[in-house]
């Protein structure tokens, strides 16, 4: 078969529902496999990731971190009780309340969430070691968004 014949064959095949095509002839072997869904695949649709018409706003914590914190019982997630802007420092130029590795008492301030010009101090509800800081300084956070993962110390 010439290259032309092969491309013609492919042009033809893609108008059909043929998924696999194999031909052995005069010492030639041709195999064409298309990426059509298989019958089996159709019967058990794979979970479909929803395609957003528009990008979601950055306010949300990424699902990965959300899953990690809820599924992993080693850590306790500290989440935002309000909607506002996340700040790690008590004031510009001051050092952050905590860093990864800091050990905090229950009731210690972890960060500020500013909402409507009010600086709201967010406290840890557990004694532990800060394992992860999930939000960048100055980023907006929504209600319930996880801010920190804290590894409890008994």
């Amino acid at each position: 078969m010439t290259d032309r014949e092969i491309t013609d064959l492919i042009r033809f095949l893609i108008q059909t529902d043929v998924r696999e095509f194999r031909l052995e002839r005069e010492g030639e072997k041709l195999e064409i496999v298309r990426s059509l869904p298989s019958g089996a695949a159709e019967a058990t649709p794979a979970p479909v990731a929803y395609r957003m018409p528009e990008p979601a706003m950055p306010v949300r914590s990424d699902p990965g971190s959300r899953e990690l914190s809820t599924s992993d019982e080693e850590y306790r997630a500290i989440s935002s009780p309000l909607v506002g802007t996340f700040f790690r420092c008590p004031a510009p130029g001051k050092p952050p309340f905590v860093e990864v590795g800091s050990v905090v008492e229950s009731g210690a301030t972890l960060c500020i969430v500013e909402s409507m010009k009010v600086m709201n101090e967010i406290e840890s509800d557990v004694k532990g070691r800060v394992a992860k800081i999930l939000v960048e300084d100055g980023q907006p956070v929504e209600y319930g968004q996880h801010l920190f993962l804290v590894e409890p110390i008994l």
Binding site: Y50, M52, P53, E54, A56, M57, V59, R60, L82, V83, G84, T85, S115, M116, P140, V141, E142, Y143, G144, Q145
Partner: protein, 449 residues
């Protein structure tokens, strides 16, 4: 050019999606808000941005003013659309928005304050020469005084909250002997709902029609009406099915009532989109009841017959733009019917719950659907029970009825009980088809009236 560039939509469900559509057509960006239970809701998926503002109870999410404003602040929204219900008629919320430099898409603060006082609003409108029902135009808090007043008005009477909207607290009292009990129940109900136990009492007009006029007015005093809607088919003072035009309307009466509606709006310097509600009795006499200072659930029937996008007008007016429509531009074309599909038990008519298992909204020519329902959506006590609105538009009322019947027969909604069958029954009822409806119409289909 509009000043409004990004709108935070402080509601959910079908009306949130309705607002997103018009914002998109106007080139305005949208921010959806949601409770933790509604992160996957369609209004969240379809808005440009979204912010979770609280747990499922609406008091802690859609009614939580600090979180709503925090969401507006972090997303840079320059306006808030309150939808209907929720905070839409809250002068306090509008004031906070104003103080934060955020445009409240609705009437002025003064309008909201006055409309929140039904007795006062009634008095102002009455003084402008618009007929009102006999009644006591002031707040009453003493039961004995209320009974004396009611006897003066003449039974049956209607007891209603002096502030707040919707059907809360409404009680019909037919005999003086039943008055005190009803009064106390209404007072408790209203106190729980609005934190204000004042009531007003007025004549209850039996077998009247509920007819309302859609008004558009700007701050310069220009105002037009977009004709009327008939909303007589109600259960427990909640509208179920609406139409435009009203079957009992004549061009002369429409001109007169439309004039009265504009007069009522002018009397309170109303600016924005609003609805002036009347009772219309069998003799063609009409009485002002109240004015709704928000977009109404049933606005699509007006849009279908006038071609005016009421939400677009609302946003433009809130943005300070002058009204661009003149009364002579408003022409009514055909007939439109809206059926509200509620999550409701078909026997008890109580709210129903479940998960949407199968959903097919009706389609085709002249059929409009307003719904944010999706397969797998949970419908819980915290959800909006209004699942969908189906609107049919055709050249004549019989043609619109025929179209609505076909649409309701086509509609598929499985997974929880709804009032879809009730609507099918209404559309098949000979009195409905002949246009013989009064406020007691729905009682024939059982359940509490």
């Amino acid at each position: 050019m509009p000043m409004i560039r990004k709108v935070l939509i402080a509601t959910r469900g079908e009306v949130a999606l309705r607002i997103i559509r018009t914002c998109r057509e106007m080139g305005i960006r949208t921010v959806a808000v949601c409770s933790t239970a509604e992160r996957e809701a369609l209004h969240v998926r379809l808005a440009d941005e979204s912010v979770c503002i609280g747990p499922p109870p609406i008091a802690e999410s859609y009614l939580n003013v600090p979180r709503l404003l925090g969401a507006a602040e972090t997303t840079g929204a320059d306006a808030i659309h309150p939808g209907y219900g929720l905070l839409s008629e809250s002068a306090a919320f509008a004031e906070v928005c104003h103080n934060c430099g955020i445009t409240f898409i609705g009437p002025t603060l003064r309008n909201l304050r006055l409309m929140g006082n039904k007795g006062k609003a009634r008095e102002v409108v009455s003084r402008a020469g618009v007929p009102v029902l006999p009644g006591i135009p002031r707040k009453i808090s003493d039961a004995r005084e209320a009974l004396r007043a009611a006897s003066g008005v003449g039974f049956p009477v209607l007891i209603k909250a002096a502030s707040g909207a919707g059907g809360r607290g409404l009680r019909v009292v037919r005999e003086p002997s039943e008055f005190l009990d009803a009064y106390e129940t209404a007072r408790a109900d209203v106190r729980a709902a609005f934190g204000d136990e004042h009531l007003i009492v007025e004549r209850y007009c039996t077998d009247a029609r509920h007819v309302e006029f859609q008004i558009l007015a700007d701050t310069d005093g220009n105002a037009v009406h977009l004709g009327e809607r008939e909303c007589t088919i109600q259960r427990r003072f909640e509208k179920v099915l609406e139409e435009s035009p009203c079957g009992a309307m004549t061009p002369a009466l429409r001109a007169e009532m439309g004039e009265a509606a504009i007069k009522a709006a002018a009397a309170v310097n109303y600016a924005n989109v609003g609805t002036v509600e009347f009772l219309l009795d069998a003799k063609g006499r009409y009485y002002f009841i109240e004015m709704s200072a928000r977009i109404q659930v049933e606005h699509p029937v007006t849009e279908m017959v006038t071609g005016v996008d009421v939400v677009k007008e609302q946003i433009q007016l809130a943005d300070g733009q002058p009204l661009a429509i003149h009364q002579e531009d408003v022409r009514l074309r055909g007939h439109a019917i809206e059926c509200r599909i509620y999550a409701e038990d078909p026997v008890t008519f109580e709210r129903s719950y479940g998960t949407v298992a199968r959903y097919h909204p009706p389609g085709g020519s002249g059929v409009r659907v307003e719904s944010a329902l999706q397969v797998n959506d949970p419908v819980s006590p915290h959800s909006d029970p209004l699942l969908a609105k189906v609107i049919a538009h055709a050249e004549t009322r019989p043609a619109a009825i025929a179209k609505m019947r076909v649409a309701l027969r086509e509609m598929v909604l499985d997974g929880l009980p709804s009032n879809l069958d009730l609507h099918r029954q209404i559309l098949a009822d000979p009195d409905f088809v002949e246009g013989r409806v009064t406020s007691s119409f729905l009682s024939r289909f059982g359940g509490r009236p």
